[in-house]
Amino acid sequence: MSKNRVFSIALFLAMSLFLSLSLQAAELKRIDLEEVLTIGSLDDDLIFQWTGVVVDSDSNIYLADAMDYCLKKFSPEGTLTKRAGGRGQGPGEFTAPRLLDCSEHYLYATDQGILGLHVYDCDLNFERRIMLNIPVSDLKVLSDSRFAVATLFMDTKPAILIFDDRGELVQEIPYANRKMAPMMDAVSFDIDAGGSLYLAYTFQDRVERWDSQGKKLWSTQLLGVKRVKRKNISTYVLPTEVMFKDVELDSHGFLFVLGGHVSRNRSRDVYVLNRRGTLLTILTLPEASHCIHIDRNNFLYSRANEGVTLKKFRMHYVFD
């Protein structure tokens, strides 16, 4: 290979690296939200009480409606196009639908009362159930054949578990070297393309990044909470205040962490961090939400009217 060619390739790689880092390097000053879509209202029965949301590559919106015991598919314009499920424990039925995520071809749903995952195609036709012997507290679908879950580890070291499409455990990513007090290991998580794990602890003032081998890369506190409030409940001492409710990565690599009870604007403040764990800005949702979702086009989705309404926002990134 000629020297010129090597030089050209090196230059190209350097330019690519520079460009990919430039968004991160430019200081994010703030993010403005512009509401672009509302689905469901107090005056209609489109949504009874949604719990989980995900958006596919065609911008169709899927909701888990806990009070209607079903999944609902909406067009990008917000029109209800399909409904699937019903109350029960049979194939494709729900007792308490909760979390949703999707791959290119499949939609995965959890039910608080049924172990395992319900699998649907993108038209909400029920395909099958993946059996798991643990309840799922958070879910992230990595591909058509891989998904990651968080659970509550009462007697073992906590880890994010990665399963294949048959429900076989293929990898564990530990995120602590020791057991934690009950519930203190509860996390929401997201995983980036490189396999890094981003954790927001539900009952601890901690946001962390771990690599795929279980090595902690950084840990940060955002709320200044020194002592977690706990209460004796039956035979356990359990935390009672939620620090963080959800965590999501956008396509730029910014990390969005939804605060809980301790945030200045309770369940409305979203902390935006870079990949190194530096807090860049805080945006505030118009209404309290239990979760956030960010789609591939960086639209943000959150709750309104206590779960009767879903709001979609365009995010305007303002840099220095």
């Binding site: 309840p135 359990l238 939620v242």
Partner: protein
């Protein structure tokens, strides 16, 4: 005075019954909110399967804390 008390006997009895109910309820869940109460009730429901109770009820508690106590 005594006749007045006798006149309102029914009302006073009713008040005492409600007070007793309230106090016994408060004793069972001292100072707890809805999620804590739900957790205790869930544990009672799953008493025969203690291992599952820890997981199911724990998960329900986390969900309640996130969703209901917005």
């Amino acid at each position: 005075m005594i006749s007045k008390i006798f006149k309102n006997k029914k009302l006073i009895t009713l008040c005492l019954v409600f007070a007793a109910l309230f106090l016994s309820y408060a004793a069972a869940f001292p100072g707890d909110g809805g999620c804590e109460m739900g957790l205790v009730l869930c544990w009672i429901d799953y008493m025969s399967m203690p291992d599952m109770a820890v997981f199911y009820c724990g998960l329900g508690y986390v969900f309640c804390k996130k969703y209901v106590e917005a």
